[in-house]
């Protein structure tokens, strides 16, 4: 009498299929996992260098100061001193590399982003309601962004 235990065929096939799927997954992983993965954490170590090698769009305040010294000096005396030039003027790397490339034209939207009246802003921060404060006029007709406390 044959009393040897025999696995049912469904189980045998499913086990084989599982081994096949897991095996092909492991083989695929061996080939497709990037070599620098896990170097510093759950990401490709090479990604840091790749991100660093992207072309620059912002030049930084020192680059602007090299040519526009006068404006930089003026700015340093007033309340906008902590702002970087490119906060208002837009990214300037292209302009630094080639002076023929002009910076984007400003609108008063730039001023209103910080100075439109908003009850959540601190009281010491200068704010106006653009609907009531000389509607239709441009901010720079009365105010100097580089010397905001001066009245022309």
């Amino acid at each position: 009498m044959n009393t040897r235990f025999k696995l049912p065929p469904q189980i045998v096939r499913l086990v084989l299929l599982t081994v096949g799927i897991v095996g092909s997954y492991l083989i695929a992983r061996a080939f497709l996992t990037p070599s620098s993965f896990g170097q510093y954490g759950w990401y490709r170590g090479d990604a840091l260098m790749e991100a660093a090698s992207h072309p620059r769009t912002f030049a930084g305040k020192p680059a602007c100061t090299e040519c526009h010294e006068e404006q930089a000096k003026q700015l340093a005396k007033f309340n906008h001193q902590s702002l970087s030039c490119e906060v208002c003027h837009g990214p300037g790397q292209a302009h630094v590399e080639n002076f023929d490339v002009k910076l984007p034209v400003l609108t008063h939207g730039h001023c209103l982003r910080c100075h439109e009246k908003n009850p959540s802003r601190p009281h010491w921060h200068k704010q106006i309601s653009s609907r009531e404060h000389f509607p239709g006029d441009k901010c720079i007709e009365c105010h100097k962004p580089h010397a905001p406390s001066e009245v022309p």
């Binding site: 992983r29 939207g109 959540s120 609907r131």
Partner: protein
């Protein structure tokens, strides 16, 4: 230029105070992320419906057992699609498997999904269908024959012992499947509920609410599918089966509505400093989708209709009951979609400062637009139709054989 235009240009979508990182053109999670928990919920719910038959032995629901499993399967295949489209770069989809992340809550969905698809749904379907596959592979020719032959995985044993083993294993997988279905959708609730800083989301009841609403939407979808499939095939609807489905739908909806109300009571009472913003959300920003969509159409009306069918089942004629079940099912399915919308979009419509609101206007075309959302939501139904054609003939060989033996 008119000054008001300037203001609109400067702050186009906001009211009050909004942090700079919240000042995006539209919420970071848009309509596709609404569909993701919705589709996953339908999977979990349809599976729970099927397990009522296998695990809890509700014999009356036998006619919808396979239909529920196929519903779960067709939606399961599309569950990751909204995420894939939302993230962009679908060609990188394999990378999540090549470099699995073991500590990120978001990445854990990969494991939960893989477990549920491979170890639960596919296996349960395979054990349930194995005998049919063997018989179909012998009778069918051409593509269908080839498909069935592949699906037998080479196991052609039709003996009584082998079939009994299929049933037993299918039952065991069903039992494993219930906590897995809870896990699948509880996980989605956990993703939102674990965000402590957001008063609209951060709530320990969130996983439970997601599971319960998933069960409700899944059963409702099975009711709709059963009625439509029967109508298309010109087959009479088994009223006893439909009544029992309606009964389970009613009870599930009662529990779901209770827990969701409890969640609201808890939220209103405990979120002291967030209360004003939550109130404004409910009264203004989400008035239609929350009060009308989710509460009135998605919960109250179906509760009344299903409650009436429970109280006066014998007095309501079959045809009216059918209409009531279908209407309730459709309202619930839409109501749960509104609920997902309220959770996902609602949580992103107010600033973390609690003093400002963002807005969301869905675009029509585009990767995150109405058209794409519609296509993603339509795809599981297309897959379902194909699956019904392939795997749900009017009478399966196994059922036919059982009928002869009985």
């Amino acid at each position: 230029m008119d000054v008001t235009n300037v203001v609109v240009e400067a702050m186009p979508h906001f009211e009050g105070y909004v942090y700079p990182n919240e000042a995006t053109l539209e919420p970071l999670w848009s309509v596709l992320i609404v569909l993701y928990p919705y589709i996953t919920g339908l999977v979990a719910g349809a599976f729970i419906m099927a397990s009522l038959v296998r695990v809890f032995r509700v014999k009356a629901l036998e006619p919808v057992y396979r239909l529920s499993l196929l519903t779960a399967m067709s939606f399961m295949l599309c569950a990751t699609l909204p995420l894939l489209i939302h993230l962009g770069h679908p060609e990188r989809c394999y990378e999540i498997m090549m470099t699995p992340h073991l500590t990120s809550p978001m990445a854990i969905f990969g494991f939960v999904y893989a477990w549920y698809l491979m170890a639960v749904l596919l296996l349960e379907l395979w054990f349930d269908y194995r005998l049919d596959f063997v018989r179909w592979s012998k009778t069918e020719k051409g593509f269908k024959g080839l498909l069935y032959r592949i699906l037998t995985v080479g196991v052609t044993d039709e003996s009584v012992g082998a079939v009994a083993l299929d049933h037993k294993l299918s039952w065991i997988i069903s039992i494993v499947g219930i906590p897995s279905a809870f896990l699948l959708h509880g996980y989605v609730g956990f993703i939102f509920g674990s965000i402590k800083a957001n008063p609209w989301w951060g709530n320990v009841l969130m996983p439970i609410i997601f599971i319960l609403s998933a069960i409700v939407s899944g059963i409702a979808l099975c009711v709709i599918h059963y009625m439509i499939v029967s109508w298309v095939r010109r087959k009479p609807i088994d009223m006893r089966c439909l009544d029992i489905m309606g009964m389970f739908l009613f009870y599930a909806l009662v529990v779901d509505a209770t827990i969701e109300t409890l969640d609201w009571v808890h939220r209103i009472y405990s979120k002291e400093e967030d209360f004003a913003v939550i109130q404004q959300m409910a009264r203004e920003k989400l008035f239609f989708s929350l009060n009308i969509g989710q509460a009135l159409c998605g919960t109250l009306l179906p509760l009344l209709m299903l409650g009436a069918t429970q109280l006066a089942r014998k007095r309501i004629p079959d045809i009216v009951r059918k209409r009531m079940y279908l209407a309730s099912g459709m309202l619930i399915v839409l109501g749960v979609l509104a609920m997902r919308w309220n959770v996902v979009i609602g949580g992103q419509l107010f600033s973390k400062s609690l003093r400002g609101f963002m807005s969301y206007k869905m675009e029509f075309t585009g990767m995150e637009g109405l058209l794409m959302g519609g296509a993603v939501l339509a795809l599981p139904f297309v897959i379902f139709v194909v699956m019904v054609k392939l795997f749900l003939p009017e009478k399966s060989p196994a059922q036919a054989a059982e009928a002869v033996t009985i």
